[in-house]
């Protein structure tokens, strides 16, 4: 064990050589070959959130205990998915702070807090942050007030700082950027405040903008403009607020897009409203659209399609294919061919009452408008506004071939309202998304961990929880799935059967994605509850 | 009812095997049960663990050999930020913990799940001068929980639901009276003091009728015109002299006597306008519990000018000294001296410094300090040990009848003391700077240590050094363990005989509360509070 540690140190010492970049692109490319580290938001470029570590197993999971805890010092909600690189953990705290922590002892090493303008009320999202990206010697942080900042991973020194967008236009960012070869890709949020969605790519060395792709037309001649009646494309929307995936071989970036604007009042924007509520595949070098797939045409329930897309290989109908799977907020599970965007499968994974089903091309066959469209008095539709799943990440195990998702079953009364929006929101947004929701029947909403056959979406098992859980899932080579319930019970399930093996009450809601890492050859699992980061291990 | 509870516990234990539900008797605590708290250690019935405030538990399931297997069982996180200094009360399966500024939460000790929560409705212009808006715990008697609020009210809550039973004002918060202490419940009475000594007020301690909140008596800690001792205050300085009673005291049922420490004279750091001994500031008061009359007093720091309150919880124990059985009250004072007094007479028996101090040559035969010259604060700053925060502050020491040792979390630190205005304007408490201030000697020049003192002499038996600050009390158990923590988030267990470290865990934020222990369904638990979380540990 000590030996292991010294090896670690030697590594570090080599790191002192000026030429050596700590995390070159090659390490990200082969992230699966170093399971002791967690090098990017989704664990690997396929966003599988699969850990190759196997020290913790169904047999010994009951012996898990808290190794150490770190409490963030402020208020707010901790939704950060930490990176762990060679024994150092990089975690973000609300609103946009970064803390480097000794992953063995939990002692903080440095802390960075950008100056956030006071006259700023993010709309439709919490002022928090879900993580950083690492490439070379730098960490990349996207701040709530729309800056992309490169920090020296050793000490938190700012290397460069570039503005992505103007918060006065409704933009706000909570996502972790995605680091490619020499590039940093990052999206924007703020759909409820009228943000006009786009995805940007920056030079990792100097923060120069390399390309920007707008998800919604900005002129009548732009592609998709004709799917917005009366030039309503100018409303914006189609934000890109959650971290996407990347296929190095195809050199394609996959990113989900958010709702059209205004959310709950579609009258002024008849048409499909491209490319909102869609999956877009962009060329990583040029930012050109390779293909798109729209999950929810003319969406009116705030069912963003921003859920992390999971990339995997499988044989479908006797043919090996490169696949992209996404459990959508609209309660359907989709499998697409990620080379072409072709729709292969789509089935509900949670209760839904808005569509009869999907047609051969994967387009929803909607129920009659009067049954599903928001109304002044409120229309009861399933799933809820927060969706069958929201921003939290599902995971995929190449061992079990299962797709694990924390699914929400419940409905809401969707209320249609007028959309009023004041550009400068420094004193609270008036109106907002043109309506909203009232909760559905009391006690109905529940959440469950569901294991789906990744290629078909067929339910293999489910684990029902009490309350409205907002936790992602992690699956390990040891055969465990980790997640948590709304009360803050962090638990381990058998990845094959869903059998609960261990749990611990952490005393506050767990609202982040668990990850796993190892130091000195010892496996740790980490997740945060309330304002506390808990790290678990075997004795 | 206690018997009933034991039956239940038994049933529960059997139940565990059979897999039965675990049932809590309706929370109800008689005076007699608090009186004999040692005989049912499963609960933690009063702030100090017992009336002698020894913070010693008879539980011994967790011991020197197995403590290293301690495992976190559940966590409860506060819903608000703030500083968390609560010492929980545990009764019949329910833990009563207070959250800052004044919220009482009842937790199911078996699962850590909240069952009710009550929050005081506080004034928006709440005044807290020289103290944190927090709360250190509740008292329980019968089926009622008693909490003193930061805006100086005493409130009785239904122990089962948190419903308010009655609410009385103890002091005027607009005049900076604020309370953070846990009240003390004795036979039919609720005893509570007050804080805000930097605000320029006259200290007192009250007794209220547990049934209806009627005030039974009030003892002012500063004499007024015509009373003995008023001449120890120059001019009219006695009117705003402070001497608050801001920490929970102890009680001797046989002598029917309360023991309560008093705070600094005001203004803190400039004594020019209050020449004299300033009775009864920085003293230990022995008070008749029925009448509120003072039986005796012992002043630790006459004419105090360093904010060294004598509010540290006094600990009562009996011991044989020079072949004579004595009833003792012992106190490790903020001024760095450890005192052993006869609690019947207040007679000084022994005393010696337990931490570095540069202000006195020592104590005379009567226990009065023999002060060094030039120890007062100056406009340029005067370096004196201990610091303003003292060798120990509000956190509780503990005493183990098994080892005969007194365990104190000691601070080794000095400070530059600065002198300011000699007077204060009580009409304007928000402007009171305490007549000066301090600059700490920080960094490696300071450290903290858990020290074990021979309780009858103050001789040091062992110490465990900590890096950095520590604001945690000590807990002594019959398992031969001392639990304590530091401000860096390490919660740990020491060997009560040798001070050897046996177990520790990093909780991720400063620990600032007195640890306690309890048992339920035959399992012993230890409670540590770090940052904004209650963490409960037990053996696997």
């Amino acid at each position: 064990m000590r030996a292991a540690k010294y090896v670690l140190m030697m590594l570090a010492l080599c790191g002192a050589l000026p030429s050596f970049a700590q995390v070159p692109y090659e390490r990200l490319l082969k992230s699966d070959s170093e399971p002791q580290n967690w090098l990017m938001y989704g664990g690997n470029y396929g966003s599988q959130r699969f850990s190759g570590l196997k020290e913790i197993t169904p047999q010994n999971a009951r012996d898990l205990r808290v190794a150490w805890a770190y409490q963030m010092r402020g208020g707010g909600v901790m939704e950060s998915s930490p990176l762990i690189v060679d024994g150092i953990m990089y975690v973000t705290e609300p609103p946009s702070n970064v803390t480097a922590i000794d992953a063995r002892t939990g002692k903080p090493l440095w802390h960075y807090a950008p100056q956030i303008p006071r006259d700023f009320v993010p709309v439709g999202l919490f002022p928090t942050n879900r993580g950083v990206a690492i490439l070379g010697d730098n960490l990349y942080l996207a701040t709530i007030d729309d800056h992309l900042i490169a920090l020296d991973a050793k000490n938190g020194l700012v290397r460069w700082n570039t503005q992505i967008a103007d918060k006065a236009d409704g933009y706000a960012i909570t996502q972790a950027p995605l680091a490619l070869n020499g590039k940093i890709v990052v999206g924007v949020g703020g759909g409820e405040a009228g943000a006009h969605g786009f995805l940007s790519c920056y030079d990792a060395n100097d923060g120069r903008l390399l390309w920007r792709y707008y998800t919604v037309a900005r002129s009548a001649s732009d592609p998709g403009a004709d799917t917005w009646a009366d030039g309503s494309w100018s409303n914006g929307g189609g934000t890109t607020w959650n971290t996407g995936s990347y296929d190095p071989e195809l050199n394609l970036v996959y990113w989900g897009t958010g709702n059209p604007v205004p959310d709950w009042n579609g009258e002024g924007r008849m048409g499909d409203n491209l490319f909102t509520c869609s999956m877009i595949a962009l060329d990583a070098n040029t930012g050109k659209l390779k293909w798109y797939f729209q999950f929810s045409p003319h969406e009116t329930h705030d069912w963003d399609s921003s859920e992390p897309p999971i990339l995997f290989h499988a044989t479908v109908n006797g043919r090996a294919r490169k696949l992209l799977a996404l459990a959508n907020r609209n309660a359907f599970y989709y499998v697409l061919d990620r080379e072409t965007g072709e729709f292969l499968t789509g089935v509900p994974f949670a209760k839904q009452t808005w569509a009869k089903g999907l047609d051969a091309k994967g387009r929803p066959i909607k129920m009659p408008a009067e049954q599903i469209e928001p109304s002044a008095e409120g229309t009861l539709v399933y799933p809820t506004l927060t969706g069958a799943i929201n921003w939290t990440s599902p995971c995929y195990s190449p061992i079990t071939g299962l797709f694990y998702v924390n699914a929400r079953d419940g409905g809401a009364y969707y209320v249609k309202g007028e959309r009023k929006f004041e550009k400068n929101n420094s004193n609270g947004v008036v109106g907002g998304g043109g309506g909203g929701m009232r909760p559905g029947p009391a006690d109905e909403t529940t959440t469950s961990i569901r294991a789906l056959e990744a290629t078909t979406g067929e339910k293999k098992w489910e684990y029902k929880m009490v309350g409205d859980s907002w936790t992602g899932t992690l699956v390990t080579a040891g055969g465990l799935v980790f997640s948590a319930d709304a009360a803050g019970n962090f638990f381990a399930l058998n990845a094959e059967t869903g059998e609960p093996l261990w749990h611990l009450l952490l005393g506050s809601a767990v609202r982040s994605n668990p990850v796993s890492y190892a130091v000195d050859g010892k496996q740790y699992v980490v997740d945060s509850a309330g304002n506390t980061l808990f790290v678990f291990s075997l004795p | 009812m206690r018997a009933a509870k034991y039956f239940l516990c038994g049933a529960a234990l059997a139940g565990l095997v059979l897999g039965a539900r675990l049932e809590s008797a309706a929370q109800n605590v008689t005076y007699d049960e608090i009186l004999h708290s040692a005989s049912h250690p499963d609960d933690w019935l009063t702030y100090g663990g017992n009336y002698a405030s020894q913070r010693f538990s008879e539980l011994q399931q967790i011991n020197k050999t197995n403590v290293n297997q301690l495992k976190l069982r559940w966590v409860y996180q506060l819903r608000r930020t703030g500083i968390f200094e609560s010492s929980p009360i545990v009764v019949d399966g329910i833990m009563y913990v207070t959250e800052p500024p004044t919220t009482v939460t009842a937790l199911d000790v078996r699962t850590g799940r909240p069952v009710w929560r009550w929050s005081a409705d506080l004034p928006k212009n709440l005044l807290t001068i020289g103290l944190f808006p927090t709360n250190r715990g509740v008292a329980i008697l019968g089926d009622t929980v008693y909490v003193a609020t930061i805006d100086a009210h005493l409130i009785a809550l239904d122990a089962k639901t948190g419903a308010v039973r009655w609410n009385v004002e103890i002091g005027d918060n607009a005049r900076a009276v604020a309370i953070t202490q846990a009240p003390l419940a004795i036979n039919g009475k609720i005893i509570v003091g007050m804080g805000g000594g930097e605000g320029g007020l006259r200290g007192y301690i009250d007794a209220y009728d547990a049934k209806d909140g009627k005030r039974l008596w009030r003892l002012y800690t500063i004499p007024t015109t015509g009373e003995p001792g008023v001449d120890t205050w120059e001019g009219n300085s006695y009117k705003y002299g402070g001497a608050t009673t801001w920490n929970t005291g102890a009680y001797d049922p046989e002598l029917n006597t309360l023991y309560w420490g008093t705070g600094n004279p005001a203004p803190d750091w400039n004594g020019d306008a209050r020449k004299g001994d300033n009775l009864y500031s920085c003293s230990l008061l022995a008070i008749d519990a029925d009448t509120g009359k003072m039986k005796w007093y012992f002043q630790f720091s006459p004419h105090e000018t360093h904010d060294w309150d004598a509010s540290e919880p006094p600990i009562l124990f009996d011991a044989t000294i020079d072949g004579k059985k004595r009833k003792i009250v012992a106190q490790a004072d903020r001024n760095a001296f450890y005192y052993v007094l006869d609690r019947v007479t207040g007679q000084f028996i022994a005393g010696k410094a337990y931490a570095k101090q540069t202000w006195a040559k020592g104590l005379d035969a009567k226990g009065r300090p023999i002060e060094n010259p030039n120890i007062d604060p100056t406009t340029k700053g005067n370096l004196i040990y201990p610091s303003i925060t003292g060798s120990v502050n509000w956190t509780s020491s503990s005493y183990s009848p098994r080892t005969g040792l007194f365990y104190v979390d000691t601070r080794e630190q000095g400070a530059y003391y600065y002198k300011g205005h000699p007077t204060i304007d009580p009409a304007n408490p928000n402007d009171v700077g305490g007549g000066g201030g301090q600059k700490l000697v920080n960094g490696d020049a300071a450290y903290t240590a858990v020290r074990a003192l021979e309780a009858t002499t103050g001789d040091r038996k062992w110490e465990f050094k900590m890096v950095g600050d520590s604001w945690t009390g000590t807990l002594a158990t019959a398992g031969g363990l001392i639990f304590c923590a530091d401000s860096q988030g390490n919660f740990f267990a020491l060997d009560a005989d040798s001070g050897k470290p046996l177990w520790n865990i990093q909780l991720g934020n400063s620990v600032r509360a007195n640890p306690i222990t309890y048992a339920v369904d035959g399992k012993q638990y230890v409670v540590g509070e770090a940052g904004n979380a209650v963490s409960v540990f037990s053996l696997p």
Partner: protein
């Protein structure tokens, strides 16, 4: 020493009341344009406001932060505006953070007055003008590779403290004493410590953080070494030693110019 050093010192070595565990480089600040004067209440504060802020500070803040803001239970606040910015300080006063309670009893204007006063903490006030030429001093700074270890704004290394605002808190005299013999009086948070493990393995580095059970060192490459203290044979400070070389060999003019340059570093104020 700069604000950030003292800040870190207060926490690193004597963490009180759950103060945010900020390490030296935490002082790294985002070079964002300061808010336009119109929505910047601080720029509108009068000397009377600052005085009022001082009075409020003495009554409401000094209890924890020390009457001069140098910290006791709460962290040292000198130069905190470089890290949090005015809005950040305002937010902390208004909402509290960690152990610090929210201050609800002050209206916005009062809070801004406190912010105005806090900004002045740690400033050495009017300091005697440096005699050298700052422009030439910058050349000396560059020629001697100071930037390898020190950052000004976003450029430079992170081994030594940030110098972005050092001119605000350090008189020239300090530099004249410090530069020839950096080890004589290294700023808190930069002491060299040598640890020897039970197996004889040795590491010498800057002590990043130490508590009762663990110690973390940082080497010249900026890499961290974390130790379980029970597995160490010795932990010894190396008095008089520092990773920073002496610059006593500079010519008098070069020294004057370098000092002038350093004194001119006052951040984006």
């Amino acid at each position: 020493m700069t604000a950030s050093w003292r800040w870190s010192a207060a926490i690193l070595l004597f963490l009180g009341a759950g103060a945010a565990a900020i390490l030296p480089h935490a002082a790294a600040q985002t070079p964002q344009a300061p808010p336009a004067a119109k929505d910047d209440p601080v720029s509108k504060l009068t000397p009377e406001d600052i005085a009022n802020g001082k009075q409020i500070f003495a009554a409401q803040c000094a209890g924890c932060h020390g009457f001069d803001g140098s910290g006791q239970l709460g962290p040292n606040l000198h130069g905190v505006e470089a890290r949090r910015g005015d809005a950040g300080i305002f937010a902390v006063v208004r909402n509290g953070t960690g152990a610090m309670p929210p201050v609800m009893a002050l209206n916005d204007q009062r809070v801004w007055q406190v912010v105005g006063f806090v900004r002045t903490l740690g400033d050495t006030g009017p300091i005697e003008a440096a005699k050298g030429d700052p422009a030439k001093g910058k050349a000396v700074y560059d020629a001697n590779g100071c930037a390898v270890c020190h950052a000004i704004g976003t450029t430079g290394g992170g081994v030594g403290p940030q110098l972005t605002t050092i001119g605000r808190s350090r008189p020239p005299k300090y530099f004249y004493d410090f530069l020839p013999d950096p080890g004589k009086n290294p700023p808190p948070g930069y002491e060299l410590v040598r640890v020897v493990a039970r197996d004889g393995h040795e590491v010498t580095g800057i002590r990043v953080i130490e508590d009762t059970y663990t110690i973390v060192l940082r080497d010249v490459g900026g890499h961290f070494y974390s130790f379980d203290k029970t597995k160490l044979k010795t932990i010894e400070p190396e008095p008089g030693k520092t990773v920073m070389p002496s610059y006593g060999n500079l010519s008098t003019t070069d020294m004057d110019n370098l000092v002038a340059y350093l004194s001119s570093l006052k951040g984006a104020q």
